[in-house]
Symmetry: D3
Subunit: 332 residues, 6 copies
């Protein structure tokens, strides 16, 4: 099977332990993240062949991050070395009405200063049939946007399927243009993408299929390459308790997943990334769109019980989760 | 703005990690507490000027406690050095039907052996317009009671506003007299104080305003200086799940706060202290009594998500919590 | 009072911290377990005299395990030294829909290679009036089964009361015969034993008394020595949230306990063992069967809030729990 | 073999991790100590039968301490419950020229308030042939001194051998009388005791036998019951590096041990206690005085490599240490 | 007494635990550093009045750093908020022949982007009589150099004493000019400064006074304001073992300190800063230059035993260290 | 460049933290080891292409171990899955005269039950030019010995260079034959191997070249394929302090390395493995035998400063270490 290329910024995540606030912490737990790296980690665990592409400086923390990714079997041979720093973020876990909090320190990173022409996309895409990116890359700088666009053009020329997660982050997009100015041109390349679900009451559980259909049709109309639009619906009861479900529109029909009640959230960072990875896996390997959306939502439901950005979980565990309907009986 | 003086016993808190019982623990986490120190910490974070007064011996653990308080900007220059020991308590966190547990080791502390005449109250109150104390000080010894009374008299003479949290602790009050014998005389000095909400079913959520009114009127009648009586209502579903709301009676009207559902409690110690601090802040700085009681209850709702005795949280975070109705969406 | 002998395999438990998956862990927490050791630990804390019998090699980890048991006042003088290794298991704590997971590494342990004739049962039962075993011993090897049977015969001859917890584990029973082939002969010795509650909807809370009665009568009929059959009913809402209750059938009547709502489970391993221990305690020390089943279910409800395999909790704490109906108010 | 009774104050030790100063620590490691408890722990590990006697209140921290002692097989059935608190001390580990530091918080402990008549010494000494005490008990209070004296008188009447470690602590002895006023009367009861080695240059390694002989003779002359006087010689090069040796004088001859070079000290607290325990063991079990002093010095040399107050080490490990001359080759 | 102003970059230090390499670490310990902050921390502990000036963004990690500094009593009211990020560095502790290692991530920090005119130096120097800076500030950027120069000019105009630590770091100085091009002009302002000791064999212990004198005279000649030149001599036997001494030249005479043998180094970062702080303290408070250089060298010898960048140690501890000649006897 | 195949048993290492004895530990640190895996890790870091071959069961702990190895870029595609368990060992770190201690629990592992015919050696050696094994494999079982011999025969047939580390472990070799009976036949296949240095006084530093020469000649005579014999000389002053050097004999000449003084050992496990790996690297990549033995000894000297079994260190770090003569100056 051909490989998937996932491209984006690699991040160090430094979290306060337990429910400590960052200002209380005397120790920080190291994890590695970044939306596209998280997608790569899930895909590698499901059994797909993945190459992760980013730009980082050469130092011991980066070595540790790459060791972590290579451990999953992700190819990192096309990672570009250069620039000044690897981005990082500090994270504190919320509870009940106190939100989880991210303090970014990712300005001036090697990915932010990446420029068009630096990445040898032809080599990167050699042996690949899928390219995944997210809306975080165009959010961080103009030069990274141009480098990404170059990649999208070459991927398109080489006939790769292109998938994207919008991943809007209000605390990014500071380089001068807004998401609305930049994203439409880039989204034109997508075959698979996340949409925004309609603005209705998720908690009430009343989103009608036609609302997803309308939104999906609109996206497909604006982006003619696009064949699949996916949606996640998060109902926020509190930082500790969410509901979670998803939908997939393929231009013809809306496929809805089961809704999960996430009553004791361990860590919700990377929920969307794990959804996107499982969706890509499903589109490439599972029988149909219904199975695919169920797989994607179940996988990302599991993510909410896993510490760190990444969904440490195998394909079999996702399937068992679906089969037992998420009851969580002890295995011994 | 003039400063607030908070006076009482400083405590070391030693907690078993996670949900370990004390008898299982091989490590203890150090925090610092004491009701009046907790009040000082919240007030300093909200932006008020605070001086904390206590009596402690001179050793490395006390140095660490004072470093902690000074870090918040609390003035500790009137802390008195002397006596034999700093009180401490061991703490284990409960869950579901297993209660959180406090094992006190505070006998013979420097505050317990504090005597009238030791504190130079005139200096202490210099530049102050508010004096806060709690029912824990008279609970620990007769000599501390007399020292406190001396302070209350001088504060009154100097025209300070006096606030008190009753803070009844059944495991204290061992020195010979009961709370009922000692407290009434001291409460006469109060302008602001906590009352006991009427004995009705909190969980059912049916406390009528008139019940608070009756209780408030009774307190004001017995303590003619008193202008404000406040109440917190805790509905204990389990050690992990409480409901939480409050009321303020100003002699004319009962102001009720929103009720919060605290579904995944992290640490409930200091809940009342954070309420009292936010109340004092509100009375001094916010527009009206409704805003004040909402601010006090929201602040103390947040406390239940914070490890340690103290409410590590800014004024802005309390306001955001109120605005988002405690939904706990991730911030990034 | 005469002593209780509890016999079975001693295990090291190595758990990943917090909610980490085993494959994420860089540190493991050491606990000691094994169903029958867990029973011994509870009984010793309740105040009964207990001797624990097992077979282990002589090394530092075993020394640590025995130190742990002796600390509770359990007699370990009849522990047999020999064989190659002490069994262990790795444990990760589940959450919501992700199940807790046990990875066994207990093959070839000293208990697995225990043979008939090795244990001097006459000495072991000297001064004892009760013998407790579980279905785990016959699950691990044929030779251990024969050694156990020898013990049961001698215990019977000496007039001890015999209790058993069925403890079916699908991941054991690999040595050639199935539980159904082996257990009936051994169960004939029992005076007290756990049964399987009827296959009805626990969550719906609709188990009728007559269903327990039917099952109990069947067990008593097949095992004429048996006087008491007990049942636990676990309703699995998720890995974090279960319901929990129990029933006792004494040949005449079904005694039902209160049902507890275990909404924030800390660690459910050893729940059944703590139930069985409290049941034995109740049968020996409490007034009647109603009190006994309430005590057993309350004790095991508390276990779900305790880290590790063992129910670190005194008799008084169980009684307080019953009295306060598991409200979990803070004690200070 | 008859049992040894060790009597004195039980302490909680709370240490900052690694080389952190106490004022930097956010976590403290729990150990249990007290000179006479440390002696009991060593003796139990060497295989002697030991009963430990002290007075403590009943709480979870005491339960943990007693669990720890019972785990070694030490009898605690004569521990007396009562009084207000268990003493504790905070400990920070020194390095090079920064001394290790002990901050005591042991005033008003249950042992300090122990009074003559509280301990039933007849029961305590039942089945015993040896009584061990140290100079710390008379240092803490007059009433504890009187209780100790009562024990010494009854032990003498019952014909027990009495051993003592002088253990002078400058930070104790605050109750009104000095060591020089109190100790001589108590030392009269001793058969075995530690002396102070003559004031010569330990580092230079030049202490002549006759100096120990002179000092020993003087002690024996003043205390006619005394048959054995022992000395340890610590050469302090730095907090991380000491030399260590010992001598035993039996009224006839001085037996000198090998000198060890303790180049990388892990924890020197309890060094003297482990020496005293091994000495008692040797006097009761080993062939001659030369073997005894070598065993005592080797055991206490090992203590300097063990975290905590107590010498976690078996008789065999001490013998191997002597045999390999403390080379420290890896065992695998 | 008037206050000392210390100005420079505040850094977060993230260290791997124990001797782990950074690439092995899963947790990092948080400390705060920066040469001039370290100087401020020592001075505040010795009892001087200190104001620390830097530029940082407003976030939770900065809040934690400032809480830490304020805890020592350091005034932070003149800290400037602005810019993008706080600099940080990763640290791993070396051993024997493996060097300790610093991985900087301090580019683009708020101090690096500080510009002339941003700091209100007149306010900063109000009530001050001493200004301390180091060679790190001109190393990080041209704009920071200009801001510093502005401060030096105003300090000079106001008659403050100016001290400087050269602190050459090969991994900094990347902004275009070399230290040799930039420093001379700035050093002209100094009254007190560190020099480089002559290039001779420190380990051999053979540095003659005249060598310090020659170097001191040269510096004083080039910088006519300069009255005091100080030198530290580090003999590197290994990462774990150094020798350490110092010298002070006052234009007339060389004062030499005792040499310390640092045989078991805990953490040598901040050794120079603690020397400089103690030197400033000595020049302001001690009797003469000999006492001053002994105090400075002893204080910084202690630093090598303290975890973190800062010398957690009081004036009294330094004096005791000198008096006992750094023997490190236990205090109890 | 062609790849190196390293074959042997993969082990989990569980270590007590710091200097805790295993019986004191409540937490264990997870590392992964096994002599041949350690060799693979070093070679991969130096830049060689390595495939690691072993036999393990499929479970989460094995997944973690393989993730760890893959992170270094080691190929694990020829790892065989099967058997019952992965071997493990418990480790406690010694100090001064207390030896480090290994408690093995590796019986019945999947490598122990490996049989001839299970490994497809032709596939394993595809693309390889070097095969490394150690004396541990024949020590664990007869069947593993036969499987190894099969590999040696096929490697020889395919013309691979074969290297071996003798790695004698007294606690293994329990399966019926001794090392002396089994090893000679296997050693015949070697081209490169470790010898035992002559029994002379290492500490005195007086090993003459001719002694290595005699021993080397003897080995080469007995094993005609053998071209290179290497020796390490460890002088054990204590568990904390060793000397370390090495020699290489190539049939013509003895090449001696510098001797290092390892004064503050962090972890000496894996010292020999890191030597062997660096030797293989040197023989394949460095200029001559002198450089090779210096590289091997320097690399393994560094290992003594690294926590865990494996030498986390790059080629450049080894070269810098040699260049600076192991002075350990801080890098910043």
């Amino acid at each position: 099977m051909k490989k998937i290329v996932s491209f984006g910024e690699l991040l160090i995540r430094l979290s306060s332990p337990g429910y400590q606030r960052l200002s209380q912490a005397k120790q920080l737990t190291i994890d590695f993240g970044g939306a596209e790296a998280n997608v790569a980690v899930s895909l590698a665990q499901f059994g797909d062949s993945v190459s992760y592409v980013t730009r980082v400086p050469q130092n011991d923390m980066v070595a540790s991050a790459l060791h972590h990714l290579k451990g999953f079997g992700i190819a990192t041979s096309d990672v570009l070395f250069g620039g000044d720093r690897i981005g990082l973020y500090y994270y504190e876990n919320g509870a009940i009405g106190r939100s989880s909090k991210v303090v970014y320190d990712r300005n001036y990173s090697s990915l932010v200063t990446l420029e068009k022409g630096m990445i040898d996309w032809d080599t990167v895409f050699d042996g690949a049939d899928w390219f995944h990116w997210s809306g975080i890359t165009p959010a961080v700088s103009e030069s990274a946007t141009l480098a990404l666009k170059e990649g999208l053009e070459i991927a398109t020329k080489k006939g790769l399927t292109i998938s994207m997660d919008y991943n809007f982050r209000g605390n990014l997009w500071k380089w001068g243009k807004s998401a609305d100015e930049v994203m439409p041109e880039l989204m034109k390349f997508n075959h698979v993408m996340s949409g925004t679900h309609p603005d209705v009451d998720v908690l009430a559980g009343k989103i009608d299929d036609y609302l997803f259909e309308e939104e999906g049709q609109k996206i497909i109309k604006e982006n003619p390459n696009c064949k699949i639009v996916v949606f996640t619906s998060r109902g926020t009861i509190s930082a500790s308790h969410n509901t979670w479900s998803g939908a997939l529109y393929d231009g013809e029909k809306v496929y809805r997943s089961q809704q999960y009640d996430l009553t004791h959230i361990v860590d919700r960072v990377g929920g969307g990334d794990s959804f996107m990875a499982a969706l890509i896996y499903g589109l490439r390997n599972l029988k149909n769109h219904q199975e695919t959306i169920e797989f994607a939502v179940a996988a990302s439901a599991i993510k909410h019980t896993i510490e760190g950005d990444q969904n440490i979980c195998s394909k079999q565990e996702v399937l068992d989760f679906i089969k037992t309907n998420g009851l969580g009986k002890i295995i011994r």
